[in-house]
């Protein structure tokens, strides 16, 4: 899991730089070669959707999705532990549900051959599959963290 997360992170770094290149290229191509590109926006959207979903499990691994922690200091230690367990459990259930629906969306786009309705018209299964895969990883990540809480193991050993 850890290795996979880091690999996806690296892939995303490349995608982020590539997106800047693509957008810059579209400006250059339009002004210096009078050849406007019509694929830059969607190519960028797809790459950045990929970046977001591929890295969301990594961010969760580092507990980087921010929340309001105002209560943490006020509650007794035992109550806090129960609270955190439930927070993880409910988050995990939600993400699992979202993952399931993402795969259904992907399946529908794949079977129907859906594309975006633009001039470039790339297939929609590309971003949908990235969303579904990313959410699957996120669900697994939270599952590991929930189990870690249950067994009282230090989180990063999971």
């Amino acid at each position: 899991m850890d290795k996979l997360n880091r690999f996806l992170m690296m892939l995303s770094m490349v995608a982020l730089v590539l997106t800047s290149l693509v957008l810059t290229y579209s400006v250059v191509s339009r002004y210096f070669f009078h050849a406007p590109t019509d694929w830059q926006d969607e190519a960028s959207v797809f790459m950045l959707v990929g970046v977001t979903f591929f890295c969301t499990a990594y961010v969760q691994y580092h507990r980087g999705h921010i929340g309001i922690e105002a209560l943490a200091g006020l509650l007794p230690r035992r109550v806090n532990a129960v609270r955190l367990f439930f927070v993880d459990l409910v988050s995990m259930l939600f993400c699992a549900f979202f993952t399931w629906k993402s795969w259904l969306l992907f399946h529908e786009a794949w079977v129907d051959g859906q594309t975006t309705s633009s001039t470039f018209a790339p297939p929609l299964w590309i971003p949908y599959s990235m969303m579904a895969a990313g959410m699957t990883l996120l669900t697994l990540q939270i599952l590991l963290q929930t189990l870690a809480r249950l067994t009282n193991k230090p989180e990063h050993a999971a």
Binding site: S20, L23, V27, V49, Y58
Partner: protein, 449 residues
């Protein structure tokens, strides 16, 4: 159940789930899907993923990671420190010059980065130790940086303005331009206060010394030779190139805002490579990594907030809440005051991104109805949200300061920030009396709306 009762229930459940400490992104999703399950047709649940995707698949929103990358490229490299030192070298003779230098450095950095905490940590990590070394009281030093950092979302580019532009259907280019005047106003107010406060602290230090007390660092003379000053100049040049390059691209008709984001990020990375030799994957990966982490976190919140506002709209909560506000027949300015107060209260708990996403569907219709210019309001709301960034309990910038200078007591930080909060209130009042502080520049450059 009436729409408003349902709305109250929705609000209450949101509050409980948010305060449980669940990450904001998941909390929004959980509340939305929960209400979908209980109050909406089962088929709604089939559309949640497509709705989230449609929200995120907007090139305007997806310029956010690129603006973050540009800020990180400068903030996480020696460039930020250089910018600060150069301004300091030139400003130190002015009374309170060090404070002014910090405000200016924050402003310049803000004009390159899209978020406030980024600005805060980039300038503060060099600025706070330097100011304290020169005798500035810790609270004052922290206050300048915390407040200066908030300029990150007012001076373009700004992540919150991107979201606002999408929510209010306003031109992002125009909104960016409208932020410049108020940004300059705040810089002037902050700098003016810095001079006043530094002189006061200087006089106190002098007083103590003359009465035989210890000699504060305030009283030490600092000197830079002309050649030292000239040497610092080329270090600022890259920033000026970056700043002007991006502005020309955007307002000269060369690039759309999202293209500008890509161009700016690439230019920032190129400057790093050429000037600081930062180009190896090993050097770049912390910069790219932190940008991705921050933007993933933000974009997930943005995506899930769509579900949240979709449910609010489907169940007629936003419409009836908006209609209720309109039905109160408040006078124009009372309405504005009430709405801004609400934004301030939200600012106690939520980051600006979530405030915009969650309140826009309710507050924008009454404001439109009352005849407010939504570009102007976007700016006023931004200044008010800046206040939320530095007031307790969860001012993001205060956390950043606690990270940079852990030894400054929280009480000092809060008191140090307080005068700047008042200055922001002054800025809001000035904006209400003279709206052209915000709208003047876009009207001049892009034609009156």
């Amino acid at each position: 159940m009436s729409d408003l009762t349902l709305g109250a229930l929705y609000g209450a459940v949101t509050l409980v789930v948010m305060f449980s400490g669940m990450p904001i992104a998941f909390a929004l999703g959980v509340v939305a899907t929960g209400f979908m399950y209980f109050f909406m047709p089962a088929s709604s649940l089939d559309t949640i993923t497509q709705n989230v995707y449609e929200e995120m698949a907007s090139i305007t929103l997806l310029s956010i990671p690129l603006f973050i990358l540009k800020g990180a490229a400068i903030g996480k490299s020696p460039a930020g420190k250089d910018l600060y030192s150069a301004i300091h070298t030139w400003m130190h003779k002015v009374p309170g010059g060090l404070g002014i230098a910090n405000v200016f450095a924050c402003a310049l950095f803000a004009a390159m980065a899209g978020s406030s905490p980024a600005t805060c940590s980039a300038i503060g990590s060099a600025g706070i130790p330097e100011m304290r070394k020169r005798g500035y009281s810790p609270g004052f030093a922290a206050g300048i940086i915390a407040a200066g950092g908030t300029l990150g979302i007012l001076l373009p580019p700004s992540i919150t303005m991107i979201l606002y532009a999408v929510a209010a259907e306003q031109s992002l280019g125009r909104l960016f331009l409208a932020g410049i005047g108020p940004g300059v106003l705040l810089v002037v107010l902050f700098a003016g206060y810095a001079v006043y406060r530094a002189r006061k602290e200087y006089r106190m230090a002098l007083d103590i010394y003359q009465k035989g007390g210890e000699k504060s660092a305030y009283l030490e003379d600092e000197h830079f030779t002309l050649s030292e000053k000239v040497e610092m100049l080329p270090r600022v040049l890259p920033f000026i190139i970056l700043l002007i390059g991006v502005m020309v691209a955007l307002y000269g008709g060369f690039a759309t805002p999202s293209e500008t984001a890509g161009l700016g990020a690439l230019l920032a990375l190129a400057l790093l490579a050429v000037i600081y030799g930062v180009w190896k994957p090993k050097d770049l990966s912390p910069i790219l990594g932190s940008s991705i982490k921050e933007s993933t976190m933000l974009l997930l919140i943005i995506g899930m907030s769509l579900l949240y506002s979709y449910v609010m709209s489907y169940l007629h909560i936003s419409q009836s809440a908006a209609a209720w506000v309109v039905g109160l027949h408040l006078s124009k300015w009372v309405l504005l005051a009430v709405i801004l107060l609400m934004v301030i209260v939200f600012g106690f708990f939520l980051p600006p991104v979530s405030i915009i996403l969650m309140t826009a569907p309710i507050i924008l219709p009454p404001l439109r109805e009352a005849g407010f210019d939504l570009i102007w309001f976007g700016i006023v709301m931004t200044v008010v949200m800046e206040m939320g960034l530095i007031h307790p309990p969860v001012g993001l910038n205060i956390f950043v300061i606690k990270n940079i200078a852990p030894d400054i007591p929280l009480k000092d930080v809060i008191w140090g920030v307080f005068p700047f909060l008042l200055l922001m209130v002054v800025a809001v009042l000035l904006l209400c009396v003279f709206p052209s502080i915000a709208t003047g520049l876009p009207d001049m450059i892009m034609g009156a709306k």
